[in-house]
């Protein structure tokens, strides 16, 4: 029974894909930007969790009904929060997320500069006696 409905699902997926390739491409492009909440490190496009299938269906239906990508994203964010977006908007709560890497880079650079500056001045030249000793050793 389950298998049959799964097969049916695949069948209608293929049927839909054939029906309107342009729509399917939009669904796929948008799904790649969205996070599957069940398997959190997968996109909605990659996941086969039942919820992801439902959400892809929602995306498809809404795009088909003439809504824009922006509308669909707003619909999902209203329900699941910014977490569904792989590229979250820049807000007070996400500043650290966006600026963090650059802050770390700046800190790393500052440490590098400090260390280079603190390095002792170039070593003193070898004295004439040292040179002679070295030459002797190398002979």
């Amino acid at each position: 029974m389950r298998l049959a409905s799964l097969a049916l699902c695949f069948a209608c997926g293929i049927a839909l894909a054939q029906e309107d390739p342009a729509l399917e491409k939009r669904v796929r492009d948008l799904s790649l930007e969205l996070r599957c909440l069940v398997c959190q490190n997968q996109t909605l496009a990659d996941s086969s969790a039942p919820l992801a299938v439902d959400l892809r269906d929602q995306v498809r239906q809404q795009l088909k009904a003439g809504k824009s990508e922006r509308d669909v994203v707003d619909f999902l964010v209203a329900r699941y929060g910014d977490f569904v977006l792989y590229r979250p908007p820049l807000k007070a709560s996400t500043v650290l997320l966006w600026a963090g890497p650059f802050v770390l880079l700046a800190v790393g650079f500052a440490i590098l500069v400090l260390r280079l500056r603190r390095r002792p001045a170039a070593r003193p030249e070898l004295s004439e006696a040292d040179r002679a000793r070295a030459a002797k050793l190398l002979e």
Binding site: L37, V38, L51, R79, Y80, G81, D82
Partner: protein, 174 residues
């Protein structure tokens, strides 16, 4: 001096990782807190010809519990939901992506704490509520505003520390 720096950095890293491991990545903050509960009109689980709407609960503090017979954690949390209902709270069950012939015997077997049982076979209303992992539990106030959401099973601690105090507060607010 150098050793102190390295040691300090190491300890800081350990603390950071320990905190990170302690957080539950499944606990996604819901944008629905403080918003009106999404509208619905759903058939009852045992009586498909009768419908139930969130408007029927206006003026009451209530709990919405999303569950399914195929969901093992739902069975784990069921004693807590039962206890909550027994303490006088109005708990409405939302049966999610389930089959009636599985859900009704499940309630008969495990006890039915729900003041009303709604049936959302396609999961469409659950989608409006941002459900992504059953069980999920919502506390909704008299004005129909969502005040709390729990993703995952309600544990005795959560019941004691979060749900019960909030219900008490909301009921007292009149």
């Amino acid at each position: 001096m150098r050793l102190a720096w390295v040691l300090g950095a190491f300890v800081a890293l350990v603390v950071l990782l320990a905190v990170g491991l302690g957080l539950d990545p499944r606990e996604v903050p819901s944008p629905l807190i403080g918003k009106p509960a999404p509208a619905f009109e759903l058939p009852l689980l045992a009586a498909p010809d009768k419908t139930f709407s969130e408007k029927d609960m206006l003026g009451k503090v209530w709990v919405l519990n999303v569950w399914a017979s195929w969901c093992a954690p739902c069975l784990v949390e069921h004693p807590q939901i039962t206890r909550l209902a027994a303490s006088g709270a109005t708990v409405v069950g939302l049966n999610y992506k389930d089959a009636r012939e599985d859900a009704i015997p499940w309630l008969a077997r495990n006890g039915n704490p729900f003041a009303a049982s709604l049936y959302d076979g396609a999961g469409r209303i659950a989608l409006d509520y941002g459900v992504y992992g059953v069980p999920e539990t919502y506390v909704i106030d008299r004005k129909g505003v969502i005040r709390y959401k729990r993703i995952g099973p309600v544990t005795p601690e959560i019941l004691r520390e979060k749900v019960e105090p909030l219900l008490k507060e909301l009921n007292a607010a009149g």
